[in-house]
């Protein structure tokens, strides 16, 4: 039975799914209904290829205030406050139109956070592009950074951190993941569930236009390919001023207790927000599209229901309080329209005046989509390319310069200076000043730290170990500022899950995430999945982006990531077993291959605890985790940040069995670079490797020993701007 087949396929539904819809409705769906089903049954909304896997993630913990399923997760930070946070992707819109795609990515994640009653206090972002020598990559980078800055700066929420990687497999399909943190009084937080039969459904904010129609199904749930220019109209246009008013308005409404529940309008617009509110409340909702304020008068009901116009929120309000809500919306000069009511029908009904345009059981619409099992197959060999950019037999100094100047390692100052990182007066550590962003919370007397990480190249080498490493990197970054993890969220950016490789990567990665979180005792409070990230040349590197929030008692004790002063002792700590597999050096040599060593999570956790305690005691001058480019790059970064050189010898690593090259440039989890008093460092069980001083980075590593002037190291490390703005 495939009557009307072309249309449902155009909308991204399979024949089987269409038949299921017909069965659940007991009839053929109308146009409005088919459009709504196609969106809510899309990968983006229904998580149909990932939901079963995600069930293995640990989601419970003492400090969890809100877990997965709400607009954002939240953890208790004491004194009656909670920190809410979430990461979301806006990959495909950004690949088509980077400025608006990235800007609306920020706008969307902000709405998720204030939808639960939290004031946004920080933005972070995780970006992936093709190599910088590609004109397209520079265009996407420039647009995305401008877009993030435009939205975040204009709305007055600081962008305090993030990461950018450049790798060939992201050439066609860049990644733009935006994260927002918010602070809420726990007692004022709201959930998204509809409640109270007879209550009014109120649409607030911007009017509804034709922008972003079909974004979730057309853009977010299919591979990118030729003819993507034609998809431009499916990208939404953001207006941070509108959102700034809407944000203040919603927080004032919530503060006054005028809203029963609140939900943002994101992907799939009214369709998903109304459907999900009704589903979460176990109720029904009637919506009259004739009462929705429109930008264009002749919009069809299905267009109104699926429009992804930005800066809109849907609220449930008691009828007696609608006028008070309207008055506050007027104060903030933002829209307010009563467009429907909560019912006990268990149906989402779409009306246009007296006409019924659609009538669907909530359960079928929101939870009826079939969930699929993956059919993973482990690849036999490295399926991505290899490109040699560093000559065989290069001197170690040349190798270090090449790595410091590689866009993945080089300073991202060019990007983060385009963001206001200060507004809100909470930013204790600005971007580039520490491994994790640190935000003070005068409300509790403490501070929170946040880190976002995910090295797709390493995950491509081994999805299980690579994902564990991403979680460990976050944990280590938090330890460097003295923070203990409270909760984790993630954005899983993968290729096509219907292909064996994509399925295998996703399956192994989620297992790694689950195992790492369980071993560390860190609950997963939310997440987002972005699949079908493939271009004509194949899939992206599998890229689970992990974001972790932690707490620290005293932000004044946080050390920097630069060496302090001449004569200070330098040491390494942790179960660091550097290996060239998947490293920056292996990439530069064109030697990438499958396989990574398996991380020892409990050992890394123990090292994190020791570093955390030392930082909290104010005992360290510098704490930096060893990451991209290995220990040599970490040493150079600490020297550049401190404006002073160092003399070290890596024989302790060689005693652990490392070759000189592995000691210098090998990567892997568990390594901390510390500086401070010798006695303190030895007391921590750290291994002393040298002293701070001089104007060069001098590293003893047997026949690969090197000496590089600090000025030369710094020039290479600061070369990103030149490359990013190169014109051909």
């Amino acid at each position: 039975m495939t009557v009307g087949a072309p249309k449902h396929r155009e909308l991204g539904l399979t024949d089987h799914e269409y038949e299921l819809i017909v069965e659940k409705l007991g009839r053929e769906p109308g146009d409005v209904e088919l459009a709504m089903f196609s969106l809510l049954w899309s990968e983006h909304c229904a998580y149909k290829h990932s939901r079963k896997l995600l069930r293995q993630l640990p989601t419970e913990g003492e400090r969890v205030v809100m877990g997965p399923g709400e607009n954002a997760g939240a953890v208790d930070v004491g004194n009656g406050y909670a920190v809410a946070f979430k990461v979301e992707s806006h990959n495909h819109p950004s690949a088509v139109e980077p400025f608006e795609g990235a800007a609306t990515g920020v706008g969307g994640i902000l709405r998720d956070v204030f939808a639960i009653g939290a004031r946004p206090i920080a933005i972070l972002d995780s970006l992936r592009f093709g190599e910088l020598d590609s004109v397209r990559s520079r265009h996407l980078l420039d647009g995305a950074v401008r877009g993030i800055g435009h939205y975040g700066n204009s709305i007055g929420v600081p962008t305090v951190g993030g990461e950018i990687y450049f790798e060939e497999p992201y050439e066609h399909n860049c990644l733009v993941n935006a994260m927002c943190l918010g602070l809420a009084r726990t007692s004022e937080m709201v959930r998204a569930a509809a409640a109270g039969v007879g209550n009014a459904v109120v649409l607030m904010g911007a009017s509804t236009g034709r922008d972003g129609i079909g974004g979730a199904s057309v853009l977010a749930s299919a591979e990118l390919g030729e003819g993507d220019e034609a998809k431009r109209p499916t990208v939404q246009i953001g207006d941070p001023f509108e959102e700034s008013k809407l944000l203040e308005c919603c927080l004032e409404l919530l503060g006054k207790g005028l809203l029963v529940s609140l939900q943002d309008l994101g992907a799939a617009g009214l369709t998903s927000s109304a459907g999900e509110m009704a589903s979460a409340g176990g109720l029904g909702i009637d919506l009259d599209v004739a009462r929705v304020p429109l930008r264009e008068a002749d919009m069809e009901p299905f267009e109104i229901m699926v429009s992804e116009s930005q800066e809109r929120m849907l609220a449930v309000v008691e009828p007696a309080r609608v006028e008070e809500v309207r008055a506050i919306c007027e104060k903030w000069q933002t829209g307010c329209a009563e467009i429907g009511a909560v019912t006990d029908s268990g149906l989402v009904r779409v009306l246009r005046g007296e006409d019924v345009c659609g009538e669907m059981p909530v359960e079928a619409l929101v939870d009826g989509c079939p969930l699929y099992d993956l059919e993973p197959a482990e690849p036999e060999d490295w399926t991505y390319g290899n490109r040699r950019t560093l000559a065989v037999g290069a001197a170690p100094e040349e190798e270090l310069l090449a790595l410091l100047g590689s866009p993945n390692v080089a300073s991202k100052r060019w990007a983060f200076e385009q963001y206001d990182s200060l507004v809100g007066s909470r930013t204790v550590r600005r971007p580039g000043q520490a491994d994790a962003a640190v935000l003070q919370l005068p409300e509790t007397g403490g501070a929170v730290a946040v880190s976002i990480d995910g090295n797709g190249r390493r995950v491509a080498c081994d999805p299980y170990a690579g994902t564990i490493e991403a979680v460990l990197e976050c944990t280590q970054n938090l330890a460097c500022v003295g923070a203990e993890p409270l909760g984790l969220t993630n954005c899983l950016n993968f290729g096509n899950p219907e292909k064996p490789l994509g399925a295998w990567q996703l399956d192994r990665s989620v297992s790694g995430l689950a195992d790492a979180c369980r071993a560390l005792g860190v609950p997963v409070v939310g997440g987002n999945v972005s699949l079908y990230n493939e271009g004509p040349d194949g899939p992206i590197y599998p890229t689970p982006v992990v974001a972790m929030v932690g707490e620290l008692p005293d932000p004044a004790a946080v050390p920097g990531l630069g060496f302090g002063r001449e004569g200070e002792t330098i040491a390494i700590l942790g179960p660091f077993e550097p290996n060239l597999a998947g490293s920056e050096l292996a990439k530069a040599r064109g030697e990438l291959a499958l396989g990574l060593p398996q991380p020892d999570v409990p050992a890394v956790a123990a090292a994190c605890e020791r570093v955390r305690e030392a930082v909290r005691a104010g005992a360290l001058a510098c704490a930096h985790d060893v990451s991209d480019g290995g220990l040599a790059c970490a040493l150079a970064e600490a020297a550049i940040a401190g404006g002073v050189g160092c003399q070290v010898d890596l024989h302790p690593l060689r005693e652990r069995g490392c070759t000189p090259e592995e000691a210098l440039f090998g990567e892997g989890p568990g390594g901390f670079l510390l500086s401070g008093e010798r006695a303190t460092l030895e007391g921590l069980g750290a291994t002393v490797i040298g002293l701070v001083g001089g104007e060069a980075v001098e590293i003893g590593a047997g026949d690969r020993s090197l000496r590089l002037d600090l000025a030369a190291a710094e020039r290479a490390w600061r070369s990103l701007e030149e490359r990013a703005e190169a014109v051909e």
């Binding site: 001023f241 700034s244 983060f416």
Partner: protein, 222 residues
Amino acid sequence: MIWGVLQFPGSCDERDALLACERAGHRARLVWHESRDLDGLDGIVVPGGFSYGDYLRAGAIARFSPAMEAVAEMAGGGAPVLGICNGFQVLCEAGLLPGALLRNAELRFICRQVDIVDERSGERLSIPMKHGEGRYYAPEEMLDELEARGQVAYRYAEGHNSNGSVRDIAGVRNEAGNVLGLMPHPEHAVDPLTGSTDGLRVFAAVAQGAFANHGSTKAPGE
């Protein structure tokens, strides 16, 4: 001293300004853009942000707000008024300060800690800047007059003029000296934990009318 901090739709740094006034040892409250009621206030901060979305031109719409009309009146009476970033743009648009702010020379938003020098004392302050339209501009003749009258309040230190401002000007005052505008953010330099405390000196100077007393004499040592 009680400051009123204006709040427009699209203001961003108004809470930071409130906090800064308190850290400077003063009191402060928000003033809604539609209110003309400045009773009980001794001075006004026009804060940073993107008032009314900065549509049309930065500060161009805010200058017509009822609150700004009342501020213009209060400024005419000699009360201290401090415009920061977007507030500086608003005060220039309102004609309370000379000159205009154009897009940064590099056409990008820049957030960076910079050093500025107090023209009166030669004192160097470390204060962050964060703006996309902060390049100070005025015609040459006007600049000569401003300098002659001592109306240039702050200049970027050598190597710190990141936006291409003419003659390195970071802040100017009106002729009477009670109205001061600057692009860097003194309200984000009031806490050692978040950077520096040099911004407190800007608040103190404006509150004390230090610029009003300064006249056209140059600071010693210049």
